[in-house]
């Protein structure tokens, strides 16, 4: 019977002092092994993390979510993780969705699992329409760049096996890592499934999300990554 302790949950945090406490409380209480990657925060993120029974890896400077994820993968693998997951620090994700993402790994039907906000009408409706538009657009861009039609290219809730994580090598530091991740999955012929998840949007998390302008930057990053690879 797979134990939650064998699941290393990577929580990337860049100035998430407002919501980190609750998220860590939840994860630790559920028995997961938690790894916090503090991506050069200059608020109380690390202090708060240190109050919990979690492992902390701290980037002295901010590198970006892609770099933070790769660091998380490296650290978790080094700790002997059998299954790895990523979970947002801003309180948008829910524990039962994490468990849902781990299920296909345990069942042996997938190597990598991506959460998707667009698989159930209820989940779709809870996304603010501007954000929904942006995300739909990113799915199209992702498809053009990777050849893979996902329903949600940018959900931070993911899970993978040790073997999958060991093969993945992300070079993108910024948000364009999501596309590179899909590339890596396809390159190594890993089995990918999408699992429906619900995301709780709050004013806080919406403010922290990507604006339309930033999306242009991310697109340019995708394209440069492809050209200069």
């Amino acid at each position: 019977m797979p134990e939650n302790r064998d699941v290393h949950v990577i929580v990337r945090a860049y100035n998430e002092a407002t919501t980190l406490e609750r998220v860590l409380d939840e994860l630790v209480a559920a028995g997961y092994s938690v790894l916090v990657v503090d991506d050069g925060s200059h608020d109380a993120t690390s202090t708060i993390a240190a109050r919990h029974a979690v492992r902390i890896v701290r980037h002295p400077v901010n590198l970006g979510p892609g770099a933070a994820l790769q660091t998380g993968l490296a650290a978790a693998l080094g700790d002997g993780a059998r299954r790895l997951a990523t979970f947002d620090a801003d309180g948008q994700h829910q524990l039962h969705d994490l468990a849902a993402c781990l299920a296909p790994l345990d069942a042996g039907t997938a190597d990598v699992v991506f959460g998707s906000r667009f698989l159930r009408p209820g989940d779709r409706r809870s996304i603010p329409w501007r954000r929904r538009l942006l995300l739909r657009g990113s799915v199209v861009v992702n498809a053009l760049l990777t050849g893979a039609w996902m329903t949600d290219a940018h959900c931070g809730l993911r899970a993978m096996t040790r073997e999958a994580a060991a093969r993945i090598r992300l070079r993108e530091r910024g948000f364009a890592y999501a596309s590179e991740l899909v590339d890596e999955v396809r390159r190594h012929r890993l089995r990918l499934v999408e699992v429906p998840v619900t995301v709780r949007y709050t004013d806080y998390s919406l403010r922290k999300g990507q604006t339309g302008w930033n999306a242009v930057n991310i697109l340019l990053d995708y394209l440069t990554h492809k050209v200069l690879r």
Partner: protein, 117 residues
């Protein structure tokens, strides 16, 4: 000499002077820099050369040829710089990651060994 020729030759000489003054540059790059400046000054002082070259390539004006070559040159330069910057960023990320992992391994115990609260 016309006004523009004086300006461009002065700029080329100033550029050489500044570049050579940087002790960090290698012999090869200094040689290339001097060569580039000499070629530039020659073309500036003897514009007929550019006209002849242009005609060779089917371009009417010497200046047009210089512009076309400059555009291509800048394009390559941009790609080169973008590539270099990306390489530097990669190195930076790897360095920061190595430091972060080394630091955390020593300082923090694994989740099972820590006392909660």
């Amino acid at each position: 000499m016309t006004g523009i020729q004086v300006l461009l030759v002065a700029a080329a000489l100033f550029w050489i002077g500044r570049y050579l003054a940087k002790l960090r540059s290698t012999h090869t790059s200094r040689l290339l820099a001097v060569l580039a400046a000499v070629v530039a000054m020659t073309l500036v002082l003897f514009p007929e050369v550019t006209v002849r070259l242009a005609h060779l390539f089917g371009v009417t004006r010497g200046v047009d040829l210089v512009i076309y070559l400059a555009i291509v040159g800048f394009g390559f330069l941009w790609l080169h710089l973008a590539h270099r910057i990306r390489e530097l960023e990669q190195k930076l990320v790897e360095l920061v990651r190595a430091q972060a992992l080394a630091g955390s391994g020593a300082a923090a115990a694994g989740p099972r060994e820590r006392e909660p609260g």
